[in-house]
Symmetry: C2
Subunit: 683 residues, 2 copies
């Protein structure tokens, strides 16, 4: 125990002394004439901060989780080409996506970057690979692409994960043989036409209609009305040659529900095919490197073989054939590729938050503001407890989100049909949680950088516009979180009915007795994983019981289950968060357990305590439902402030462990005095 804070108290004392020296300077002369200050100079935080007490490379391994060599190779590849807009600031080179350019220019450069990556073998085995290793390499490289530019990652993601993924998941051998290799080589450029003007999250309600013409052996795809136009289709406006079309399938006048078809929309010269109309979605607040478009189909005919027939097929003479009788299950099968989308969103949201934090924290270690005494030196902004409170809890949460998104990747890569429910629920929860966390982190980081956060080249502010889309695409976050609560409700009801123990979704803790929270929390209790786990589990368990009771009450009053869910949205939201936070904590504890004792494990313990305690502080549910007494809540709040001081000396090492090359951060993270010097302007 003595070692567990690795003499962090000493460093805190040191910090406190530095700060109080600033603030309590001897013989202050409050009304004395202000003296001129010596000019500011920039000191790299590497020189001014203490050296790391843990192994940054080891921490980076844990953070990135897999394929570090591949990641570094791709970072290097991007740094070697002028296509990635290298700019020089303060003696360093930074790469940056485009801005101050029209959407047309941004789209073209994004496509050229894809050709460059293709030529250099980045996409090898992305669709033709087999096994976990190929899949993990793909996910790692997509992470890296996204660190450079979200538009580039999305443009690639649509082609490989949505178009390619649909062919893999919904198609059968004939589709795999015909399309996967050509997709991997960009001989065809694919897009994914699911969303329509009138229907987004509610895919089941789409209005595109497909019928079968047995006389020619063709499907006939039609956009029957304006609200059925395909909308937000990434790649459609300029580049895609082919698309997956989601459509109601009508056979013999009967609607068999949503199915997926392959249709060509452009020829090899980029001309739009007959009976297809395409329009632009226009300028967006971010992601302008992606050419989102709208598509209308006017009785477009495609061969019968273009139905992606893993779930259902139509025979040449027009019989509807399926092994899955239940249309709900059939429909669910068609949403599977969206899961891969949620997996990649969780990872990319986390990396985006890392860029914001690495930039804002490095800046806060070099920027001073206000002196506490008339002639005293100005204080480093990260030495203000309030600034620590703004950034360090988000840093701890970002560590937690890293472990969560790595876990999600792993269960996704190693998926079996038995894990479908878990993957659906966890990916929904983590997609929503990480994307909300990212937006919040970027906003705080942008404000923490002051005006510099608004300067596009400093990245932090720019990322807000680029990543905003994540909270609503691949499933609106609120809708996803409702699905989480509904799934938990389902587990609860089925466990109670069958009188069998809980055994999925991490709910096994509900089989134990209800955790008891000490009436008087102490610092050492609060930092124990046991306490943290107990109170997170207590919250989830209690909210699930309350939610189930309220829904059952409504049902007993004759209301439908859906209506009961709708009415109890407040509890549902609290419960969704409780599930997600508890699941995230478990991934953190798992990561911690993988490390042998020592400084790395110790710092992880501190970071995890910050994650857990700041969650207790911020979610009013702990007070509202009485999991924390007001006395205990006040202890938690004090402890968060203590943890801020304890993490402060490690802030630089903790962001260095993100493994982001300097060139991918905003220039404000480095020598911003030199970067802004007149002489730099003249180069």
């Amino acid at each position: 125990m003595q070692n567990s804070h690795f003499s962090s108290m000493e460093k805190i004392n040191f910090r406190t002394k530095v700060l109080s020296r600033h603030l309590n300077q001897e013989n202050p002369t409050p009304n004395s004439i202000i003296q001129s200050f010596p000019c500011l100079s920039y000191t790299p935080p590497e020189l001014s901060e203490q050296s790391s007490i843990f192994d940054i490379k080891e921490m980076r391994k844990l953070m990135d989780g897999h394929n570090l060599v591949d990641r570094d190779w791709l970072f290097g590849l991007m740094l070697q080409s002028n296509l990635f807009n290298p700019i020089k600031r303060g003696g360093k080179v930074f790469v940056q996506p485009d801005y101050n350019h029209s959407k047309e220019q941004q789209r073209e450069i994004t496509m050229r970057r894809i050709w460059y990556l293709l030529e250099h073998g980045v996409f090898e085995k992305w669709l033709t690979g087999k096994g976990h290793e190929d899949e993990l390499r793909k996910l790692a490289l997509l992470d890296v692409v996204g660190i450079f530019d979200h538009s580039l990652a999305i443009k690639i993601g649509v082609h490989f994960f949505l178009w390619g993924g649909a062919i893999q998941f919904f198609g059968t051998k004939r589709h795999h043989d015909k399309w996967l290799k050509d997709t991997e080589n960009y001989v065809v450029k694919g897009c994914f036409s699911m969303t329509e003007l009138g229907h987004g999250s509610n895919v089941r309600g789409i209005e595109t209609v497909t019928t079968y013409d047995s006389s020619t052996g063709e499907f006939v795809i039609n956009t029957p009305c304006e609200s059925a136009q395909k909308y937000w289709i990434g790649g459609a406006a300029n580049h895609a040659t082919h698309t997956i079309v989601f459509s109601q399938l009508i056979i013999d006048g009967k609607n068999q529900g949503v199915h997926a078809f392959i249709a060509q929309i452009r020829d090899e010269n980029g001309n739009i095919c007959p009976n297809v109309r395409i329009a632009d979605c226009g300028h967006k607040i971010g992601l302008n490197g992606v050419d989102n478009g709208r598509i209308w189909f006017d009785n477009v005919r495609v061969p019968r073989e273009n139905l992606l027939n893993s779930v259902a097929d139509v025979s040449p003479d027009g019989k509807y054939l399926t092994a899955i009788k239940d249309p709900d299950q059939r429909f669910a099968a068609f949403l599977a590729p969206l899961t891969s989308g949620r997996v990649t969103i969780a990872a990319s949201a986390t990396y985006s938050a890392k860029i914001g934090l690495a930039t804002a924290i490095r800046y806060s270690l070099t920027r001073r503001a206000f002196s506490a005494t008339p002639n005293g030196p100005e204080v480093l902004i990260l030495d203000y407890p309030s600034h620590q409170r703004r950034l360090l809890p988000l840093l701890a949460k970002t560590y937690a989100m890293s472990f969560a998104s790595n876990y999600l990747k792993m269960i996704y890569v190693k998926r079996t049909p038995a894990m479908n429910k878990t993957i659906h629920v966890v990916s929904s929860a983590f997609k929503a949680t990480t994307s909300w966390h990212n937006m919040r982190t970027l906003q705080e980081c942008r404000e923490a950088c002051g005006g510099q956060g608004l300067k596009t080249e400093n990245r932090v502010g720019q990322l807000k516009g680029e990543y905003d889309v994540q909270s609503t695409f691949e499933g609106d976050n609120n809708v996803l979180m409702q699905q989480v609560s509904k799934a938990l409700f389902g587990e609860y009801v089925s466990a109670k009915r069958s009188k069998k123990p809980f055994k999925e979704l991490g709910l096994e803790h509900m089989n134990n007795s209800r955790p008891v929270i000490p009436s008087q929390l102490t610092s050492s209790t609060m930092r124990q994983a046991q306490f943290q786990n107990d109170i997170f589990c207590l919250r989830e368990r209690d909210l699930l019981e309350r939610f189930a009771a309220e829904v059952s009450l409504c049902q007993s009053q004759g209301k439908s289950k859906e209506y009961a869910f709708t009415l109890n949205y407040q509890l549902a939201e609290d419960l969704g968060r409780a599930f997600s936070d508890r699941a995230v904590l478990h991934t953190f504890l798992e990561a911690e357990a993988s490390v042998t004792s020592g400084s790395l494990k110790n710092i992880l313990g501190l970071v995890r305590s910050m994650y857990a305690l700041v969650t207790l502080e911020e979610d009013a549910a702990f007070l509202r439902y009485g999991y924390l007494s007001t006395d205990n809540a006040s202890m938690v709040r004090k402890e968060v402030a203590n943890l801020c001081s304890e993490l402060r000396p490690h802030a630089l090492s903790l962001v260095s462990s993100f493994g982001l090359p300097d060139a991918f951060l905003g220039p404000i993270a480095f020598n911003w005095v030199e970067a802004n010097a007149w002489s730099s302007e003249q180069n």
Copy 2:
């Protein structure tokens, strides 16, 4: 009392029935084959919603507060010119600032819009006018300009409020005579060089140095090092001819602190003056219509008369003369024009939130998603209680912010020296509160619009980038809120020391006995202004007492007051919010009191209760410090949900009362099916 909810219960019952009919459709067939839906069509909410039960024009008067005719005139003026980019969508015309253009193009069109407004007399008497009426007209017209485009408002604001305001406030007759008329006519174009690369919020630390040369009767302005370059100077990069320069003034080797000087930076042909260097601040995440620049002064000489000498002067032979001996007070006098900035920020943040809400709420009254039964119709998204909870509390808060910003305008316009402290504290609190509220509202509205919120032409998402700057310029919001708490602390200490009653900053309630909150809240209690006021006052009072006690405790332990403030930042933040919320509530009650009884007053009561109760629900301080028991907090939460249902039928009327012409909202607020029709694309 019977009338007070104007039979709102009937409407709630109606809504509830509609919703439950959707959700509980007779004989649902859960696993039946999905039928194709009829195509979607758009119904204007004016047709589908009940007509307003209150007078929308009267409500708009209350919202805008002043100069309605002038406002409508300027809206019309903008609609008459192609300079404001009229676009046609769904049979309606919308005006829009530029996007998908380079910053250079955006800056030029912004300047051309200014010429147009100038020619049409918009700026008449903005600087040469006298009295409240001219000042209120100016503020109203600036509101309207900002509703079109924040860049245009800021570009105008810098010229009139910062450059012009500095001459008015710091200058004397010779400056007024020489510059005000020419400024009003744009014969000169002014900017305001306060911020430097190294110093933003901490103006006192700026490094620009000015000396006096008595041999020529000139001041010599110098940028001694790179961190002293002027930074973020709106207008400097391209258009400004003159600037106010803030600089340390050194007389006989002694630093007299920050003073303001007039310097020319460009000649009438736009050529940069000798000894001045100017560079661009580059692309920003918003406000690219404003040409922010950086300025270096290389021993720039300006006549002695160019010192703005209302506070201090230098005699021809180089003697420093001032009536204000205390350099702190002298410094404070120089920050006065920033107050006008905070007044206009509060107003424009509120109007921005109105644009977001009017757009998102109108869309939510025409967009449907998910049917609760397999073949049932889809539900209007504002009929989901969860969607109501997302938007309607923000709507109520926006009403509150309107009253607050109108109040702030009024005390600013009618200011007397005795009101300086109040204006400083209230403008700091309201600037921070409204700008945070705006960003939060825009984010929620953008998500509530789904993907459409990301489409730049729909405005909601675009406004986020444009208004983000407000939380850090004219004083970082966190720093401003700290100042509020410090001012409250000062009042507290002085009242206790002098044993005199509180009589400023709205703290008079502290002279009364401590309010008592009923142990069992009921719906009717919670809706009483008395209760709402009591609990807001209780929170402010208790937090001020706690804060004062903690700071005193630190002081008794030998810590400086500043250090004590720094350590107690959590309480300081809670207290700042408590002050601001209570002050906002008071402005709401004042506005309500100005209305005679009837439907308008009734609806205002509902909106105010929503504002008060959602504040109780969202700020965990009420639970943390025990102002609300967990039982009472749970009652409050239920009541917020009830208020959502009760406000739902009035949502359309409440946003219509904002008085924003259709053309200034996003097209998604109107016929979005037709706006996206292929035929529209071909026009």
